[in-house]
């Protein structure tokens, strides 16, 4: 077991760990390993990092209290930074440097975090494997022939090989939880509105949240504490002081586990038995009637919102542009050559779902489906934390899933529900099968992140599976 972010922070505060040595070792590791893993799209220069370290030291010397001074953070490349390019994994934003920082980035800088680089993702976060990036696929550090999950696969991989202490991803339908499950890391999709989306390059606004990742639940609590909170710059931000109690009961709708591959099922049931032995009540007879509507509902809404959000990339507003005799031609050429196939396909499906003649049968029907799914989850999470598989399958081989869209989308079956309902969900390690990580998901009621963190801390004490680094 390696040191946790919590213990590194203690050592930095005590002065027993030299910040430069620590951060430059991380840079060295990135140089050594990232040409294979490809977790990062861009990395800070040494000079920039040194300036940042000196700034943090000055702040410490002046008595400024900071929550994560000296901890190394990686940030998904769809979160705006004014000091590093923000590409969203797309050629259409190549070399684009936003004029401002996302609110979460400002918060991390304010609290002394060292942002070491921007991590790889499926283009505009549209994918579940991190194979759709215009900057090459990311490999799973636990088995480089397999995917790390997506779309925050770069963030998960950057943690899994030890190049940073904390990370930020974004989760639209499972995009931090699936990678967490596939890389033995931890990811929390927060309640909709609890983390500012200001500066997040949008894919599907009503579903997505910037989401913290770490190698343990206790470490995750550190970055969660930094990024949460109301932001007047985000109209969907929630000003909420809700404190959840730490009493929990777990319930298990069978549909959320039974369709998983056998090693996943058995690992999760074994873990639940251990949790029960620690005195946590578990109800095995739960039922989730509307799971069958979850995937079509989610994808219809996500496509529709994507079509709307990505209309802005017309060759005028952002730097990349193709030539054309008219605005229409220029715009079409730009979008044709600089969007990837998957993105173009999702835009097209979104336009279909919103078109006259189809809107009632697709988009409106999906928003109705969303209501019944949301209401069913809210009823369930009033009484218990819902436990489930994160993914129905083990981390797939590279190329195995992307050829068939339905197989690819099916990977999200257990994760999309939390996004449709806006509730928080935590993914964390449950075990291993043939050296491949298996994750478990816990889903709670709105604003019950603290409850999930308490349960997650208990679970990682039971399993001992925290702060794992691939290859150690």
């Amino acid at each position: 077991m390696k040191e946790t972010a919590v213990s590194i922070l203690e050592n930095i505060r005590k002065g027993s760990l030299e910040m430069e040595d620590y951060v430059f070792k991380k840079l060295e590791l990135i140089r050594k390993k990232d040409n294979i893993i490809n977790a990062y799209i861009s990395i800070d220069s040494e000079d920039f990092i040194l300036d940042r370290i000196n700034e943090i030291k000055r702040n410490i010397a002046s008595g400024k209290k900071m929550k994560i001074p000296g901890l190394v953070v990686s940030i998904k490349d769809n979160i705006s930074t004014n000091f590093l390019p923000t590409t969203a994994g797309s050629k259409i934003l190549e070399n684009y440097i936003p004029p401002y920082n996302a609110t979460v980035v400002e918060k991390i800088l304010e609290e002394g975090g060292i942002i070491i680089g921007k991590t790889n993702l499926d283009e505009f976060a549209m994918g579940s494997t991190t194979e759709f990036s215009a900057y090459g696929l990311t490999r799973n550090p636990w088995d480089i022939t397999r995917v790390p999950g997506g779309s925050s696969g770069g963030s998960a991989a950057s943690l899994a090989y030890g190049s940073c202490d904390l990370s930020l991803g974004s989760d639209t339908g499972g995009s931090v939880r699936l990678p967490a499950s596939y890389t033995a890391t931890v990811g929390l999709k927060p309640t909709y509105g609890t983390v500012s989306r200001y500066g997040l390059i949008p894919y599907a606004n009503s579903l997505e949240q910037i989401s913290p990742m770490a190698r343990s639940v206790k470490d995750l609590a550190l970055i969660w504490d930094v990024i949460k909170g109301y932001d007047e710059k985000d109209a969907t931000s929630v000003n909420n002081n809700y404190k959840s109690d730490n009493k929990f009961k777990i319930c298990i709708p069978k549909e959320f586990i039974e369709e998983s591959e056998p090693p996943i099922k058995s690992t999760i049931y074994k873990l639940l038995e251990k949790i029960e032995n620690e005195g946590v009540a578990i109800e095995y007879e739960g039922k989730f009637e509307n799971l069958k509507y979850a995937l079509p509902t989610y994808y219809t809404i996500a496509f529709a919102e994507a079509a709307s959000n990505l209309a802005r990339y017309d060759g005028k507003l952002y730097p990349i542009s193709s030539e054309g005799l008219s605005y229409k031609e220029m715009s079409e050429n730009t979008r044709r050559y600089y969007f990837g196939f998957e993105v173009k396909k999702r835009i097209l499906m979104g336009v279909l779902a919103l078109s006259e003649g189809f809107i009632n049968d697709y988009y409106i029907a999906a928003t109705k489906g969303r209501r019944i799914i949301r209401d069913e989850i809210l009823n369930m999470t009033k009484n218990c934390i819902v436990a489930s598989s994160v993914s129905p399958i083990l981390p797939p081989k590279i190329g195995e899933r992307i050829k068939d869209p339905l197989k690819l989308y099916a990977m999200d079956i257990y994760t999309v529900v939390a996004n449709l309902a806006g509730v928080p969900a935590l993914a964390m390690p449950a075990g291993f099968y043939n050296n491949l990580p298996i994750g478990i998901q816990f889903m709670a009621g709105p604003f019950e992140e603290e409850k999930l963190i308490s349960l997650g801390s208990l679970v990682e004490e039971i399993t001992g599976l925290y702060n794992l680094i691939a290859g150690d």
Partner: protein
């Protein structure tokens, strides 16, 4: 639209979305669209459901925390009265 990839509809969608594909991509696109539509068609049965659409999880029925929606903007407040009166502004359909 037929179950199979309908080129006319595809061309219309391409025009609306300001997109273009190579011939090779178009072939794959047609195959994928047919498959994806088979997934999306599963929600169509919900269109007759007697519930209100849910566009955002913080709708009034959830009893959101007290401060949500404090900053809610009435779009009509931002538009000059004469333009509204003359029906020059069409507010999108999603208002309930």
């Amino acid at each position: 639209m037929s179950k199979k990839c309908d080129k006319d509809i595809i061309n219309e969608l391409l025009d609306l979305s300001r997109l273009n594909f190579t011939e090779e991509e178009l072939e794959k696109l047609c195959k994928d669209i047919d498959e994806i539509r088979s997934l999306l068609n599963q929600v169509s049965s919900l269109s007759s459901l007697n519930v209100k659409p849910l566009y955002n999880v913080w709708d009034s029925e959830l009893n959101p925390p007290y401060s949500v929606n404090i900053e809610k903007v009435n779009i009509y407040d931002l538009i000059p009265n004469e333009r509204v009166a003359q029906n020059k502004i069409k507010i999108p359909w999603r208002g309930e």
